[in-house]
Symmetry: C2
Subunit: 115 residues, 2 copies
DNA sequence: GAATTAGGAAACCATTTGGTTTCATATTGA
DNA sequence: TCAATATGAAACCAAATGGTTTCCTAATTC
């Protein structure tokens, strides 16, 4: 029974470009902090903090190997995002619903000054 | 030639739960600010600011009708998110790659103290 | 035309965020 | 054992974020 409620959610976690890049990096392979830091132009401490946030969102796991801490991706929490996104599929994949929407709009409001 | 570089990107826009709720609301139908505000427990001004951020990310459009401003969803920018997400599909939909990963890990490093 | 209604703009505020530097601790390696 | 290495923790800081209140303008309605 570790942490039931994550302190950072996945939406927040991926909001930062550095963290998105981190996820990409760690999807290739497990990496210790020092190697990870080499891919960024910020201090090791800053990278470490981003890793913590990803970890709190469950997107990354770490294990100690000797004196280094290796991080790797855990993509599972991205499911939530995918599910959320799926709801909006009909709004751009199915253009028909959009079209119907606009037609109704024109009819119900003749004072339309949109254009 | 309006704004080539949006001030807020879609990742940032959906990071806030209020804004995600807004997108859900506006997917049903176009709505004026006052009606939208009724669905939240914050001031109209605060809601208005969230709408602005969504608009800057291209996720929402507005049109003036009389004295009211009606907002509606534009889901198109969510494609970017969907594309980004797609890259990670193999990491949880195809469990084989994950399995292979763990096996290699055990072999190459006997000092594993993960558990 | 005066009062009401819808909404944006500006100033302000507390908290969060993304970064830094500095210090402490554990593991190696000579 | 002692120096070097890898990392985390803590204190600090500027800027961004999410809210509020107060004021202004444009439509609407009586």
């Amino acid at each position: 029974m570790s942490q039931a409620v994550p302190k950072h959610d996945v939406y927040q976690a991926i909001a930062d470009p550095t963290r998105r890049k981190l996820l990409g990096l760690l999807s290739d392979k497990e990496m210790p902090v020092k190697e990870i830091t080499g891919h960024f132009s910020m201090t090791r401490t800053a990278v470490s903090k981003h890793l913590r946030i990803l970890e709190e969102a469950g997107l990354v796991r770490d294990r100690k190997v000797g004196r280094e801490t290796r991080y790797r991706l855990d993509a599972e929490p991205l499911k939530e995002l995918k599910d959320w996104l799926a709801y909006f599929d009909r709004f751009w994949e199915n253009k028909l619903s959009m079209l119907r929407y606009y037609v109704e709009e024109q009819q119900e409001d003749p004072s339309d000054n949109d254009k």
